[in-house]
């Protein structure tokens, strides 16, 4: 299990990106899929910081990331205590067909996050939002005949 807790400020984004990259590398994700996992997490976290906490945000708020490498996929959960918000129900902008000259800014982050991963789930419990993204581990290395484990998993055991 990978775990990281940071202040809910944009200053935490660099560390979050590094955390996601480490998880993706340990799970053997391709560069493309690692980039998609990063995109999903970065957009979710940015949305929480900018809109979830909004004007009340500050270092006293904390965002927790937990990640795990399963045999067939990686999941990563973002937990924070801003007001309840389900990003799985608010992710399709209404103006995707409009020319750029007529677009209103914003609204694309959660859409990108949703499109970047294979699944996204949401729960609200104990006063916290929990958003979990799942991404398949493609091109898994052959199982090690000695112990049956997938080689990429050793890094986090």
């Amino acid at each position: 299990m990978f775990q990281l807790t940071l202040p809910a400020t944009t200053g935490s984004l660099d560390k979050i990106v590094t955390f996601v990259a480490d998880l993706a590398r340990a799970g053997g994700l391709s560069a493309v899929r690692a980039g998609r996992l990063r995109l999903a997490v970065e957009e979710l976290v940015t949305n929480s910081i900018m809109h979830g906490y909004g004007n009340s945000r500050g270092p006293w708020n904390e965002i927790m990331l937990e990640g795990c490498i399963e045999p067939s996929e990686i999941w990563l959960r973002v937990s924070e205590d801003s007001p309840p918000f389900d990003p799985t129900r608010h992710h399709t902008p209404q103006d995707l067909d409009k020319p750029l000259g007529e677009r209103t800014p914003g609204g694309l982050g959660l859409f990108l996050a949703h499109q970047a991963v294979d699944r996204m789930t949401y729960t609200y419990s104990q006063g916290r939002n929990h958003v979990t993204v799942y991404i398949r581990r493609e091109s898994l290395p052959a199982a090690d005949p000695d112990n049956g484990a997938v080689p990429g998993e050793r890094h986090w055991q």
Binding site: L13, L39, E43, T46, P93, L96, P99, G101, P105
Partner: protein, 106 residues
């Protein structure tokens, strides 16, 4: 996260080369370059993306800004965008408002 841009003007064209990651922390730098390009009064804005490794929603907002900042007659050409960057741009429907190219057009 690193991001650098360089801007060159050649006749009626401005080329902005993007190197690195265009996201919330770097989109402001991109917008400054777009402001310069818009003031130049050119007919074509080329965004050279061969070295652009990452594009988030903040980067996409930068492209919206570019489209809205440049005059309507200005063509925006995205050169050598990676498959992933192009995928993101197409996913949000921006490909109707820009042109993709493999090389800097003559």
């Amino acid at each position: 996260m690193s991001f650098t841009t360089s801007l060159t003007r050649n006749g009626n064209t401005v080329v902005i080369a993007l190197d690195g990651e265009l996201d919330a922390s770097t989109a402001g730098d991109f917008r400054k370059q777009v402001d310069i390009a818009a003031d130049a009064g050119v007919e074509r804005l080329i965004l050279h993306m061969a070295k652009l490794t990452y594009l988030s929603s903040a980067g996409l907002r930068g492209l919206v800004f570019a489209r809205q900042k440049m005059d309507d007659g200005v063509t925006i050409v995205l050169v050598q965008a990676s498959d992933e960057v192009e995928r993101t741009i197409r996913m949000v429907g921006f490909h109707h408002s820009v042109v993709f190219a493999d090389q800097v057009p003559e």
